[in-house]
């Protein structure tokens, strides 16, 4: 049985470890601050109204971001400081500080930095650090090499730094699909495999618009929620494309990727399908059913929160407390419905169109 002395010793050790993590992250931030100006590739994106200046030690990573993000060069508020995000790798920058001790866990890094007004995370499988200092408007992603990035990085590169730097108490990102019409829209929320991406793609094929099928930027304004696109691509596997009458051999489709899914610019697949902004009217929780026609029934706020929060917080780590609160404000502002999906993609799209136009049947 552990004694009080053991507990005290463990606590002291934990504190030393947290201090070590913090010191390392400060060293890396200082390094990024010094090197940012000479990084060989730079890009600027506007996300959630904030101007994000990316600097890359590897130009290949700049290509990755240019492929994934929408090139939105909106005039920023002159009072806003541009946020610098440095994506650094040890191969390109051999003098990059390295963490030479035992790999920390995600919880260690999040807690150690949150206590010291930084955000951070660590991916122990790929040995990648993510660090963000809001006071310096500076973030850094540190990895062993360009090739050591996770397979899923291409779909949404630098996601944690973008998530932390672009968020506020009323703005952030949400992991959900979207469909809309004439400026009004719905979220499609739920666990993987529930039919979010297929339903989104079916919708745009059948004349609806979308801000994205995976991650979208959101803003909660009182009792209104707005969604905006930030990513260019959607994903779908060959079976899903075939189900919608689409052949994966078209030049629009790239891949398949690590998930055996084809990636595509949905506005090229269906010109005009990407909307700049949607006023969100409902959270739909799709579920695959064998019914002849799709149907809607009210869902509780608790059910909507459980459909949205787990995947959002899993995919967008490091600011769980604030994101939990932001998601709750979305759920309170927008009614939720279960959507029992029929087996007919066109019928599903028409049902959602009618829902957006007229509300719940």
């Amino acid at each position: 049985m552990a004694s009080a002395q053991d507990g005290s010793s463990l606590s002291a050790l934990r504190e030393r470890y947290a201090t070590k993590i913090f010191d390392f992250c400060q060293t890396v931030l200082d390094f990024a601050d010094q090197k940012f100006g000479i990084l060989p590739a730079k890009l600027t994106f506007n996300v959630s109204g904030k101007s994000l200046r990316f600097g890359f030690s590897s130009p290949d990573y700049a290509d990755l971001c240019a492929r994934a993000y929408l090139p939105e060069f909106v005039q920023q508020n002159s009072s806003d400081r541009q946020i610098r995000l440095a994506i650094l790798d040890k191969v390109s920058l051999p003098d990059l500080p390295i963490w030479s001790a035992a790999s920390p866990g995600m919880g260690n890094v999040v807690a150690a930095l949150a206590e010291r007004d930084l955000r951070g995370a660590f991916d122990p499988d790929h040995f990648i650090w993510y660090i963000y200092d809001a006071r310096r408007a500076l973030g850094v992603q540190v990895m062993p090499s360009f090739d050591s990035r996770p397979a899923w990085e291409a779909s949404f590169p630098v996601r944690l730094l973008v998530h932390w730097s672009a968020r506020s108490s009323t703005r952030g990102m949400i992991h959900a699909g979207t469909l809309g019409l004439n400026g009004s829209g719905v979220f499609l929320a739920g666990a993987g495999g529930a039919g979010k991406s297929g339903t989104t793609l079916s919708g745009i094929i059948n004349g609806l618009q979308s801000a994205g099928d995976d991650y979208v930027a959101i803003e909660v304004i009182g009792d209104r929620v707005e969604a905006r696109p930030m990513l260019r691509l959607m994903k779908q596997d060959a079976t899903g494309l075939h189900r919608l009458g689409l052949g994966s051999t078209s030049r629009v489709f790239e891949g398949p990727n690590w998930q055996e899914k084809f990636e595509f610019d949905f506005d090229k697949l269906k010109p005009g399908s990407r909307t700049d902004q949607l006023a969100m009217k409902a959270i739909l929780i799709p579920q695959i059913s064998k019914a002849q026609t799709s149907s809607f029934r009210p869902a509780s706020g608790r059910e909507a929160m459980m459909a949205l929060a787990p995947s959002c917080l899993y995919q967008l780590s490091g600011s769980w407390k604030e994101d939990f609160s932001l998601l709750a404000s979305v759920v309170r502002a927008v009614p939720a419905f279960h959507l029992a999906l029929s087996e007919n993609p066109t019928e599903i799209a028409h049902a959602i169109r009618a829902f957006i136009e007229k509300g719940a049947p």
């Binding site: 010793s9 463990l10 050790l13 934990r14 030393r16 470890y17 070590k20 001790a101 035992a102 790999s103 920390p104 866990g105 995600m106 919880g107 260690n108 999040v110 122990p124 509780s300 706020g301 608790r302 909507a304 929160m305 459980m306 929060a309 787990p310 995947s311 917080l313 899993y314 780590s317 769980w320 407390k321 939990f324 609160s325 709750a328 759920v331 309170r332």
Partner: protein, 147 residues
């Protein structure tokens, strides 16, 4: 169940326990371990009372000994939340001012309080190399390395 011995009070275990309410139902998230707790209406009413500082004894007495929600089921539910790490026993005196709506809900509920647990985030958070460190040698020497 006899309330001859005064039950201990309960408080939210730590600042890592955050909760959000939706039309009378709570979703609770433990930031330290990544577990979610989804509470039905009765469980949520009890959670709200505990967060408001109502004493355990007052809650149990308000529920009485009859019905689906009674003193025994409330104490059992609170112990379950202690086991989950959401609540912790407390010596602090609790409030006795239970509102009539809560008493009515406890009296009319047809099932005991229920909470569903989800651990989607747990594997992201729980890895903790501190547990693997050999204290005699000092960090960062791992136990396996020191052995």
């Amino acid at each position: 169940m006899s309330l001859d011995s005064k039950p201990v009070n309960h408080v939210v275990a730590s600042s890592d326990i955050v909760s959000e309410e939706f039309d009378g139902e709570f979703v609770v998230l433990d930031l330290s371990c990544g577990k979610y707790f989804s509470m039905d209406e009765t469980a949520s009413a009890i959670w709200r009372a505990i967060v408001a500082g109502i004493s355990t004894q007052s809650l149990a007495e308000a529920a009485g000994t009859e019905g689906a929600v009674n003193s025994a089921s409330i104490l059992e539910f609170l112990e379950k939340l202690v086991g989950f790490g959401c609540l912790t026993p407390s010596d602090a005196p609790g409030s006795t001012s239970i509102d009539s709506a809560l008493i009515q809900l406890l009296a009319t509920s047809d099932k005991p309080p229920t909470v569903e647990v989800f651990d989607d985030l747990a594997d992201l958070i729980m890895a903790d190399p501190i547990h693997d460190v050999e204290e005699a040698s000092g960090w960062p020497v791992r136990k396996t390395e020191a052995a």
